[in-house]
Symmetry: C2
Subunit: 375 residues, 2 copies
């Protein structure tokens, strides 16, 4: 039987209590979309906050309807008997600020104009994304989280949360991420943004009122991103040189040829149906600007406030967020005498490994949560 969940929405900030952003701007109306799984215990000590990655949303687990073919993006991890066991824990996942899946972002209506924000939406940071989520858990009656967890951009949020709200959590699981975005990762995001910004349909972000969105640009950006999320060898094994359809001969044929090409086209086409190009621009800018150092002279200094017990996880074939980046975090936490576990999990699936049902990954998370609960 499929476990069901629904996305709820809550207005967390209004004109009397606007959201103050790191850039200095204020957002008067901020809604947050979120889902919860399991039950909060009477002492509110079993709550786990999950942070989603760039293309994720609040629908982390379960199904919205019995007819849904796919559950939420992290369903392999969340549910009865799974590492984030809904029999034991109360799991929360919220769509990030700047997103397009229910939380306020560039596609939301600007209350001052009655029109979508577009690029009048202020720039946001990873820290800014945490503010509504902090307010959300307070609204849910949670003073202290048992744990936070996230991969990729979700891992940036988990790391930033442990710095910004050090006494608000017992543990943090920081997966497949880095203390700052690397030059290479910025470069890939930057080309994706160039593709969107130079799409004639982008119109400086003011494309909501007509039917044409900058989908070619967004598709290009997603295809670039998708390649960087995959492992080199798993791509080779999955696709290799399999040709999807007969080659034309004396006439050039630029339609899909190798299977990997049609796979990327498919991934790009399905992404543009569900994601707002401006949200892609704003969120990748926040990711690129992520810098936990925040002017401190070294990472141990930058992480000095952290109190949470942590588990840092990397994956062997993740070349976008390689293990060296995770190890920087681990070393800095160890210098600060923080209780830190580190797992470099053997996986061929590249950066996307954090979205793959891997027994060792699940065991690591399960073990960490059990140890947290036993304390």
């Amino acid at each position: 039987m499929k476990a069901l969940a629904k996305t709820e929405k809550i207005l967390l900030y209004d004109r009397s209590d606007p959201l103050e952003l790191d850039c200095g701007a204020e957002l008067p109306n901020v809604e947050v979309a979120f889902e919860t799984y399991g039950k909060l215990n009477s002492r509110a000590t079993n709550a786990i906050l999950i942070f989603h990655a760039l293309s994720g949303d609040a629908h982390a687990a379960f199904y919205h309807t019995k007819d849904d073919k796919k559950p939420g993006w992290g369903d392999f991890m969340i549910g009865q008997g799974k590492p984030f066991d809904t029999e034991k824990y109360f799991i929360i996942c919220a769509n990030v600020l700047g997103g397009c899946k229910g939380s306020t972002g560039p596609s939301s209506t600007n209350p001052d104009t009655g029109k979508p924000y577009g690029t009048s939406f202020p720039p946001i940071t990873i820290s800014d994304m945490l503010k509504p989520q902090k307010k959300l858990i307070e609204y849910l009656g949670i003073k202290r989280l048992l744990c936070t967890a996230g991969g990729s951009m979700g891992g940036m949020q988990a790391l930033q949360w442990a710095v910004n709200y050090p006494s608000s959590l017992e543990g943090a699981i920081i997966i497949a991420t880095s203390p700052t975005h690397t030059a290479q990762a910025i470069a890939f995001n930057s080309v994706g943004r160039y593709a969107i910004l130079s799409d004639p349909n982008w119109k400086t972000g003011d494309y909501y009122h007509n039917g044409s969105r900058p989908l070619i640009g967004l598709k290009t950006a997603r295809m670039i991103g998708h390649i960087t999320y995959l492992g080199q060898l798993s791509m080779e094994e999955k696709f290799g040189r399999k040709i999807q359809e007969g080659k034309g001969c004396s006439k050039i044929d630029f339609s899909k040829e190798f299977e990997v090409e049609s796979y990327l086209q498919y991934q790009g086409d399905s992404f543009v149906k569900r994601f707002d190009p401006n949200s892609y621009l704003y969120i990748t800018k926040a990711i690129d600007a992520f810098d936990i150092y925040n002017g401190k002279k070294n990472l141990a200094q930058a992480l000095k406030n952290v109190q949470a017990k942590t588990m840092v996880i990397s994956f062997t074939s993740d070349w976008l967020y390689p293990k060296e980046e995770s190890l920087k975090i681990v070393k800095a936490l160890k210098i600060n005498s923080i209780d830190t576990a580190y797992c470099n999990i053997d996986s061929p699936y590249g950066h996307d490994s954090f979205l793959v049902d891997l027994p060792k990954f699940k065991d690591a998370v399960k073990g960490f949560l059990k140890a947290l609960g036993d304390r």
Copy 2:
């Protein structure tokens, strides 16, 4: 004093003797642009054929005019006292078939219509690129080359030449390449092609008669490619998180921010000034389709014809054509008892290392050529 060279052009095929392509089509008029450096000796035994990579051309060394700021793309390797020593060797480099720097390609005039070929140009392969070059060296009076050399797509040509024309050369230097294009490398090229093909100015390749070329698509493709040519750590060291100009604050600013972003924009902008988008499409298709196996059950079988002494070179930080690909070639040649040297050269510069003046790289090439000459 700057050594000078000029690009020459020669018509190698005409209606009476058309170029037969692997696809079955025939090209009636094929011109080849080439440069030579040094002098052919009286017995014509000192000739070295250099193959350029995707974005290269026949201008491999020296300067076209005394006022040129930059010499040819391989000038660090070619010249008096350099590994390809123009005091000893006669060096030849030709623009590839399908290119846009003097050799016949999609931007050339189709003699049947009097208009540029565009996508009526037939598809080409790496083997096809070799045919005019083989005819060129015969025209130059060379029966047997002392050596061939090339990196990346040039390495594919060097490998294919050793298979196709086994008795026509003494040695081959095969640099930073692979026996077939990997799924990941195909994927990056494929997204670049998508960007060009979906640029409204592409117009199914028929953009030559008006002023608007699909430059946004070509720029996107080049930016993607450029990231894959660089080493991860050298990017980090070169750019890190240096911000190019002051951040805007409460207003989003998508203009260049991190130095790596403006660097990529610059690289993209300068590339589109000198390269034809259709040539980019045709040449990347040829690269992606490259498959030295050609239906053989293993690589040793596929390389059975090779007679040339070979040197295979990879670079430690090249993740696009990783050393495992070079090692496949080395092992297959060893199985066939071919005299093969292999160097994995320590370099932080990624795939582009083959275009960088590295002492170990130069020493390796110099040593191999000396040994060839001594035999």
